[in-house]
């Protein structure tokens, strides 16, 4: 079972890879909409990337309003 810290780090790594950013350039408290400037299609791509990586389903309404990596990781953790 992953810890929340491990999940958070995996989410940061996934996002950095998906958006082609240098490793370590994202932090748990970052607002990903502001930091990455992503639109609705990119949000859905990231959701698919997360679900495929963790082997979970993360209903959209559970992440609606979430904008930082740490809170996103908490939502993922609750499905692991």
């Amino acid at each position: 079972m992953r810890t929340l810290e491990q999940t958070t780090q995996e989410v940061l790594d996934l996002a950095a890879k998906h958006f082609q950013l240098p490793a370590g350039s994202l932090a748990p408290a970052d607002d990903f909409f502001k930091k990455l400037g992503i639109d609705s299609l990119q949000t859905l791509e990231m959701l698919s990337r997360i679900e495929n990586h963790f082997g979970i389903e993360l209903p959209d309404y559970e992440v609606q309003g979430v904008s930082d990596f740490r809170t996103l990781a908490e939502r993922i953790q609750s499905r692991l």
Binding site: D39, L41, T43, L44, E45, E51, N52, E57, D60, Y61
Partner: protein, 267 residues
């Protein structure tokens, strides 16, 4: 005619396979322009049917198969009209898209939706008229219509109900959530999962296999196992128009059109 390039889509017949490619910026929204070209397509593909084994529908747009009905066009066209004309307009559009999808659904050749990215609402309804879904593992599916105070209007519920269990149909409909390709395969919506960027290649390979079988038997088998649910489709149009008449729908459409948030398909 064995090929066509229009403003919203293109298609080409080659060695018994028709490839229809949706290519309408930004997200293959189905509005009046795409509807007109789809109408031309079903006439042309009907004429080519005797020499066609498979039709593959895919998208040339990045990250999207189709985001669904063109709600911006719908809102801008409907908002200035008196209620009676608004309803007549929407009913006419629905009758036309149903005619297209019913023809596609009942085509004597096999139809494959090669899906990647977003496949929502009317886009999912277009794919549901096909016989086989082949989905990229990054594909996502949703029926977000209830957020607008509407039901899917292009035949979505009758066709989804025909193919899948009610638990999944109601989950999609009542939550408006998006589901990934793995889940869609698990419930039986998706026939084959493809790696990223591989859906069209796998659809072509599947088409080559399908083409090996006898055309008469293939058409008879399809007619036997996939009846078009005409009565429910008719009732869907009536219910959609009944719901569309409510003022709350135009208010929800206005909100959607003006929404630039990351999840505009959720209320």
């Amino acid at each position: 005619m064995k090929s066509f390039t229009g403003k919203t889509l293109r298609w080409e017949w080659r060695e018994g396979v028709i490839e229809l490619t949706l290519d309408h910026a930004p997200a293959n929204e189905i509005g009046s322009a795409m509807l007109a070209e789809l109408e031309q397509f079903v006439v042309a593909s009907g004429a080519l049917a005797p020499e066609t084994s498979v039709c593959i529908i895919s998208s040339a747009r990045k990250s999207v198969f189709s985001a669904g009905a063109d709600l911006r066009e719908l809102y801008r066209g409907a908002a200035p009209l008196p209620e009676k004309e608004r309803l007549a307009g929407i009913r006419n559009f629905l009758e036309r898209i149903h005619a297209v999808l019913n023809k596609l659904d009942a085509a004597p050749f096999v139809t494959i939706a090669a899906v990647h990215g977003v496949c929502f609402g009317g886009g999912l309804e277009l794919a549901l008229a096909c016989d086989i879904f082949i989905a990229d593992k990054m594909a996502r599916f949703a029926f977000p219509e209830l957020r607008l105070g509407l039901i899917p209007g292009f035949g979505g519920i009758p066709r989804l109900k025909r193919d899948l269990g009610n638990a999944f149909v109601r989950d999609l409909l009542f939550t408006g959530r998006t589901v990934n390709a793995a889940r869609a395969q698990a419930v039986g919506l998706v026939a084959q999962l493809a790696g990223e960027g591989e859906a069209l290649r796998i659809a072509r390979s599947t088409a080559a296999q399908i083409a090996k079988f006898d055309a008469v038997t293939r058409a008879a088998a399809k007619k036997f196992i996939k009846p078009v649910p005409h009565d429910e489709l008719r009732r869907e149009i009536d219910l959609f128009c009944e719901l569309f008449a409510r003022p709350a729908v135009m208010a929800a459409l206005k909100k959607f059109v003006e929404d630039s948030g990351p999840m505009p398909y959720l209320p």
